[in-house]
């Protein structure tokens, strides 16, 4: 299921829905596996009363992790060579996220992708890049 360089064109896109109506429980799951127990992600009382945010919000790395699923579904397992992102806006419980990879170049057996994840208001919550090995 790996991509073939000969079948890729600059501007090709691949999109997936990462999550619909993000649940607080997903944030708890991510805290538990990643080891990032920052109360900003799971403790509504601390986050609203002490930190001053309207509610708990997702770990940036949860959004990057879910976006990673879109990428590996597109480029194939074990094919990524680079993946980097900026977290441009917070992700909140209840959010629905879609993520898109866009082909920027294909050279020397590597596809370079632009990566963008947006919420239900079309705001960019994550923007970045990835590179992956492709077949000829």
């Amino acid at each position: 299921m790996a991509l073939k360089a000969s079948q890729l064109k600059v501007g090709d896109t691949y999109t997936e829905c990462l999550v619909e109506d993000l649940k607080r429980t997903q944030l708890v799951m991510y805290a538990g596996t990643s080891g990032d127990y920052n109360p900003l992600h799971t403790d509504e009382i601390f986050t609203t009363k002490v930190a001053g945010y309207p509610s708990v919000f997702a770990h940036g790395m949860l959004t990057m992790g879910m976006t990673g699923r879109m990428l590996t579904n597109y480029v194939g397992d074990g094919r990524l060579t680079k993946y980097g992102v900026r977290f441009t806006s917070q992700v909140w419980p209840g959010d629905t996220l879609h993520s898109t990879a866009t082909v920027e170049s294909v050279e020397d057996g590597i596809v370079n992708l632009k990566v963008e994840t947006r919420n239900q208001n079309d705001a960019v919550v994550l923007s970045g890049y990835a590179a992956a090995r492709v077949d000829s």
Binding site: Y30, G32, G35, L40, F46, K49, R69, G84
Partner: protein
């Protein structure tokens, strides 16, 4: 700097994949994984972030007998400005994360994690006051000393909570 020892385990990979809502069988089904190009279970792209579990002093994990800044009887368990990271009135947020994969970790790997500081810079933000960025470079090497993943993280401390408009 002595690195933390990060054993990569199949159960941890399975749970991590669930926590990022990824149900790809290659993260939990050994029989399926054998039929793939990779040939074995591998870790999802952001799995190495969970090396925090193996850092005995990781500041975002409650520790026995020590104050914790999350809520209990009170909205926070520590006095103002005693808490590390992400505490009251702004605090630390994750701004960027970058990975370079030399190969993808698999169960049975024992990675050594070494962390070194990178650059630091400042910027004036419209929605959260002064922003102080700091970079951390993390290298994950395997049991043979080979580099597996190089990570670069950027954290930002804000003067006040980010405005939600």
């Amino acid at each position: 700097m002595a690195g933390d020892r990060f054993p990569v385990e199949a159960t941890h990979i399975m749970m991590f994949a669930r926590s990022v809502a990824d149900d790809n069988q290659i993260y939990y089904d050994e029989d399926y994984a054998k039929t793939t190009e990779v040939g074995h279970i591998i870790a999802p792209p952001t799995f190495v972030q969970s090396s925090a579990q193996f850092n005995p002093n990781y500041f975002l994990r409650p520790k026995v007998g020590q104050p914790w800044f999350g809520s209990g009887k009170e909205p926070t368990g520590v006095k103002r400005d005693a808490g590390g990271g992400g505490g009251g009135g702004g605090g630390g947020l994750h701004a960027e994360q970058h990975y370079e994969y030399h190969r993808h970790p698999k169960p049975g790997d024992v990675l050594t994690v070494t962390v070194r500081p990178g650059k630091t810079w400042e910027k004036e933000g419209k929605r959260s006051g002064k922003l102080v960025f700091s970079e951390t470079i993390t290298e994950y090497r395997d049991q043979n000393g080979e580099l597996v993943v190089t990570a670069r993280g950027v954290g930002v401390r804000t003067e006040r909570p980010v405005d939600q408009k």
